[in-house]
Symmetry: C2
Subunit: 223 residues, 2 copies
DNA sequence: GCGTGTGAATTCCTTCACAGCT
DNA sequence: AGCTGTGAAGGAATTCACACGC
């Protein structure tokens, strides 16, 4: 039972608000880098592509930290959102699958810069195991459990083919890691206490296709 | 004014339904591969992780193609969804950015297999231009417009750093491609007639972090 | 005066529950 | 009898609009 050290972590945020808070954080940090000290909901809205009333509503879930007639103190708000999202603690990510995508993710600087440490990269293929990718050496997925333990990973990214995903997913959960981001194009069966998010690029293109196909071919011209 | 060749494309589907239709399609094709001929909403629900009433409601947007007391004819339903999503036409995808992610996407077999043809890969870096990645040769992004035209691309994937994204995005739109999937972690400003979807992996991890941090550390044990 | 904070109104999505067809 | 199709109910998220405090 860890005692709550920072105030106000308890109330659950609406799922949609959580997603947007990450956008506000990104926008805020950009504004801070430009030297901003105060921001209004209107500015944040502009910078993150959300309506200003939505911004205010979302921020109000964290508490009343703005000043009427003035706005929000940028530095403070950034820290407040960081805390609310749980980004004050260290997140250690293991990537399973060292194919094209897994290797790209392992080298992706965007993770490190936002506080996610990629601590392990695993694969099943003997030809890949032992090779260096970025600053990591590829481990054998047969040793998944011990690698997760030694690396103290608390998140896993699955970057592997559909066929392998469920099996590895089960092992990851059994090993005690309950936060999983999957790029595998299959439905993964997990207990409800597990946090699973899915990213499927083919799905994204299909959704684009739907909208593209419905549009009356605006603005362009086949010369 | 293109005459509607296939029946019933006109009514707009709810956005949430479109996203799920891609799941049903995937599930259906898997079931078909296993030799299924009929499926019930219950089976589809199971296979795609959606409630069965939601499945029925979504399918009802496409028309009444099920048989009461029996279910849906799998082959037919698959084709119907394919048509509704606009996947009967050829989609030609150009990937801008041949860094880790762009190269991984270019080689990702999942696109081809779902009807998306990767027809071009572009980069700005002279050291990369001309190299082969998969079955493609990297083009110079300076020639973006002519490459898009020659390759007849009608979708673009942006796999490039935040700084470059807006500029390239503008050029893509000016060149007449209005369906864009962006992996760049920035807000892109686009006219409303453009279809833009965003995938941000750092955001996904941050959302995971939020949920992980709220959970009372279930089931696992730091040995 | 100005921008936040928030109830109320609205829109969008999901689930319920059952009538209707096979 | 069984499963679809769908109005109606319920819930979630967004927008509105204005009172409140600086």
């Amino acid at each position: 039972m860890p005692p709550p050290e920072l105030a106000a972590k308890v109330r659950a945020l609406p799922a949609a608000a959580v997603a947007r808070l990450t956008l506000y954080l990104r926008a805020l940090n950009a504004l801070l880098a430009e030297g901003a000290e105060r921001v209004s909901s209107e500015e944040l809205a502009e910078a993150s592509g959300v309506s200003s009333s939505n911004v205010r509503k979302d921020l109000s879930y964290l508490g009343s930290y703005g000043t009427r007639g003035v706005g929000y103190e940028a530095q403070f708000l950034s820290r407040r959102i960081t805390a609310a999202l749980g980004l004050t603690q260290e997140w250690r990510v293991a990537i399973v699958g060292a194919g094209n995508l897994g290797r790209a993710l392992a080298r992706y600087a965007g993770f490190e810069s936002r506080g996610f440490d990629v601590v392990a990269l695993l694969d099943q293929d003997q030809l890949v195991i032992g090779h260096e990718v970025g600053w990591l050496r590829v481990s054998d997925v047969a040793q998944l459990e011990s690698v997760l333990e030694r690396s103290k990973a608390n998140m896993v990214v699955l970057a592997l083919p559909a066929e392998a995903a469920q099996d590895i997913c089960d092992r990851v959960i059994a090993a005690g890691v309950h936060s999983i981001l999957s790029f595998a194009p299959v439905l993964l069966q997990v207990p409800e206490y597990v946090n699973l998010r899915k990213v499927d690029m083919a799905t994204e293109l299909q959704i684009l296709a739907y909208h593209a196909q419905r549009l009356p071919e605006t603005g362009s011209e086949s010369a």
